[in-house]
């Protein structure tokens, strides 16, 4: 790309021209949980992205049949490689291959970055409140990684994550979250388990995220935080309603719903 082309190119995440499908090659895979896998990708010409954006992935079978799904980006904006974390959904057309079969050297197509709504940047500077259910933590992790990679500007942003998982073994990025939380200026991480009885010594919650949980673990509404909620539809709707009831500014609450049912 020449300097002129670079200058004419719209900024990452902005609107503008149509998105091209690009070849992506798997360079590394990491098991996150029983069902979630991170794929680190080489995507030539990737234009960069904002924390919270996603990509469309397209798989093409030998007979030409194509299946397409949307996945959140897990890597922060300036990471050298694009990373997706994919949860395997039973009966899905795309996620079983991505999460279970894809190996280094395998290729597929993707387009992106997509979506300017569920995005966050340290430049927004207000306190950051993240609420995740299940694999809804993925775009929120990109935000926490972006914050962690932003030095003093990141540490200046008060940040809390409240993350609900069915069981300890289902907590994606568990070690990294613990590590981030003990760093100086790190985010406050609160976990809650919804199905499994918590193990001895558990310091988190053991219930679905409700108004009392949000009041205990969230950034206070008086601090006027930017709030991001991502998870399954019933969780997102319950949390969004509870937040409004607690006095959070509705215009600052951004939601992203994903569905295990029939998708994947």
């Amino acid at each position: 790309m020449t300097a002129t082309e670079a200058a004419l190119r719209p900024p990452a995440g902005a609107g503008g021209r149509r998105l091209a499908w690009r070849p992506a090659e798997v360079v590394e895979r990491m098991a996150e949980t029983r069902r979630a896998t991170t794929l680190v990708l080489d995507v030539p010409g990737w234009p960069g992205h904002l924390a919270g954006q996603h990509v469309d992935v397209r798989l093409t079978a030998e007979d030409g049949y194509q299946a397409q799904r949307s996945y959140s980006i897990a890597s922060p904006p300036k990471a050298p490689r694009l990373a997706l974390t994919v949860e395997r959904l039973e009966g899905g057309e795309v996620s079983p291959w991505l999460a279970g079969e894809a190996r280094p050297g395998d290729r597929f197509e993707l387009r992106g970055p997509i979506g300017g709504y569920f995005t966050w940047s340290v430049a927004m500077s207000r306190p950051l409140m993240l609420v995740a259910g299940g694999s809804g933590v993925v775009p929120l992790m990109a935000m926490l990684r972006h914050r962690a990679a932003s030095g003093d500007a990141g540490r200046a942003v008060h940040a809390r994550l409240l993350y609900s998982a069915r069981a300890v073994a289902d907590i994606i990025y568990h070690q990294e979250l613990q590590r981030l939380s003990v760093e100086p200026g790190g985010p406050e991480i609160n976990l809650t388990l919804t199905r499994e009885r918590p193990p001895d010594g558990w310091q988190g919650f053991d219930r679905r995220i409700d108004a009392p949980t949000l009041a205990a673990a969230g950034v206070a509404p008086e601090m006027d935080p930017d709030v991001y909620v991502c998870g399954p539809t019933p969780m997102v709707e319950a949390v969004a309603n509870a937040l409004v009831g607690l006095g959070y500014e509705p215009a600052r609450i951004r939601t992203e719903r994903f569905g295990p049912t029939g998708e994947g």
Binding site: G16, A67, S70, E256, R257, F258, G259, T261
Partner: protein, 94 residues
């Protein structure tokens, strides 16, 4: 893929790629007014039904289909009868 009539499990965020095939701007952030109830919200907050052969984006308040996109052999087909207005937000404005 969810069929119409089933409960939506996704929202307009997941239709962002398809919307970029139709609109010259990022429609997920575009304030869109529902013809059914008059509420205005970005397309990202609409409920998404079906995606492979197109998309139906419904109002989460009144269930009105607001944006309908079909993929046909002749191209993409857009039905905006459910939207009173769609505001193409300036991409430079966050």
């Amino acid at each position: 893929m969810s069929a119409e009539g089933e409960r939506s499990t996704l929202d307009g965020n997941a239709a962002g790629g398809l919307l970029r095939e139709v609109f010259a701007f990022d429609a997920t952030v575009a304030p869109t007014t529902c013809v059914g109830c008059g509420r205005t919200r970005p397309m990202a907050e609409l409920m998404l039904y079906a995606i492979e052969l197109g998309a139906i984006l419904r109002c989460p308040s009144c269930d009105q289909p607001v944006v309908r996109i079909g993929r046909t052999s002749r191209g993409l087909w857009l039905d905006l009868r459910g939207a009173t207005t769609v505001v193409a937000a300036d991409p430079a404005t966050p």
